[in-house]
Symmetry: C2
Subunit: 234 residues, 2 copies
DNA sequence: CGGTAAATTGACTGCTCTCAATTTACGTGG
DNA sequence: CCACGTAAATTGAGAGCAGTCAATTTACCG
């Protein structure tokens, strides 16, 4: 199996200004005073990732967490045949790599890959652990991050694994819209990704997606960007 | 919709001896000193529940958490049509009602119902919150409980929502075996429950379950108790 | 014993899978 | 710039699993 290099097409955007982060209220360190944060801030880096970039890989030793500010990430695991299963989609506010903060294992449980352009902050694992050791009174912040994953997992089951394929794909694109910058258009995932997400064949998916395009449910706005056309707009 | 009374067929078993609880190591308060626990202990009650008992109901105001020591619980939500969807199965070590500990909403997000006989401890929500406020240094204990739910959610997707129905049902019974007291026999859920768990019709499920019984894959050991007969045993 | 709900079974339909051929897209090297 | 190779997407044809509708049997309870 050829392993692409991690974090392809990544651009460094400097030390982030966490005190004014747009997602800060709903996200990591929402409750923290600036003084509690200061030691952490100096070690956090902000990056832009292109679609397809891999944030972390299942089984690799963990060094960092990634706090997602913009974009969508597929969070996937691999079965015995090496086939990917997407456990959930993660959007702004999600933190990737939480499993590595409890100290039992030191490697990532899943692979996280950008499905769109990303804006994410890389947090060194040691800095994160130190912060939590020094300020356990802010533990709720951590719990909220776990809750975020749990809600995404529940959403997967309810929206991507239930009912007819047609409906599951519509739900998928609705979620992608929600996670996009403008709330409408989104980078269309590959057939293989959709397959791993909704649990169907690429062939069946191709057929239905072609239908959507023919029927005008799915409208192409750009190179690989599409948007859903709701019934009200017709 | 007729609402059965909550906690039907519940028996009080007194104040539990948490310091010697069999699941304590893997469970709530695993790290806590006895002295930190003492204030909590006096308000915790241990109960036995019969299959079908409801621990908490979606939307009801939250008063307690339930720490599961023995048995299996279905954790379900209801869609627009009032149809149940089982999000996950919870076994020993799980704590039910975590969503209510963050303070935003005060009601249960899902309904938790016993699929087998249960041994569970009821923890007053206020006592739990006070403990965490006074001893935030033990926050990892809480995080582990959330992780437990997340792993159960991921298991649902991988085992109950993937592949052919036959396989999903086999996985279901394997999980039920794992959660049972003896590790083998289990209380067989109703067709409706299996339907809400694996995402199929009761009719389709009935057919396959009948097959399992005819082919000897599923062996009846008692009234409503069955066990899986693995290929090695044949 | 009767009434309701659940499970079982049959017949039929249809969605999705499988297999396969073709077309399109894309990166590489001449 | 084009030729080529590979991978992905598209489309067709056929089979099979699961859904739907419906009738019957069984289970359970007052």
């Amino acid at each position: 199996m050829s392993r692409k290099s991690i974090c392809t097409n990544r651009k460094w955007r400097g030390r982030p200004d966490c005190t004014h982060c747009v997602v800060r209220k709903s996200v990591l360190f929402a409750d923290l005073d600036v003084k509690d944060l200061s030691s952490l801030l100096s070690s956090v880096d902000n990056f832009q990732y292109e679609p397809g970039s891999i944030l972390c890989r299942q089984g690799d030793p963990a060094t960092s967490l990634y706090s997602l500010r913009k974009g969508v990430v597929k969070f996937e695991t691999f079965d015995d045949n090496g086939e990917a299963e997407i456990l959930r989609l993660l959007g702004p506010g999600a933190v990737i790599g939480l499993e590595t903060t409890l100290g039992e294992g030191r490697s990532y449980h899943c692979t996280a890959t950008a499905l769109s352009g990303l804006d994410a902050c890389r947090i060194p694992l040691v800095a994160f652990k130190r912060l939590m050791k020094e300020h356990p009174e802010h533990y709720k912040v951590i719990v909220i991050l776990w809750k975020h994953h749990l809600e995404a997992a529940d959403e997967s089951l309810l929206k991507f694994r239930r009912g007819e394929l047609r409906e599951r794909l519509l739900n998928t694109m609705t979620v992608l819209s929600r996670f996009s910058d403008d709330g409408h258009s989104f980078h269309l995932p590959s057939g293989k990704d959709l397959s791993a997400l909704v649990g169907a064949t690429t062939v069946a998916i191709s057929r239905i997606m072609a239908d959507f395009k023919r029927q005008g449910v799915l409208h192409q706005v750009d190179d690989n960007r599409y948007c859903l056309v709701t019934k009200e707009e017709l």
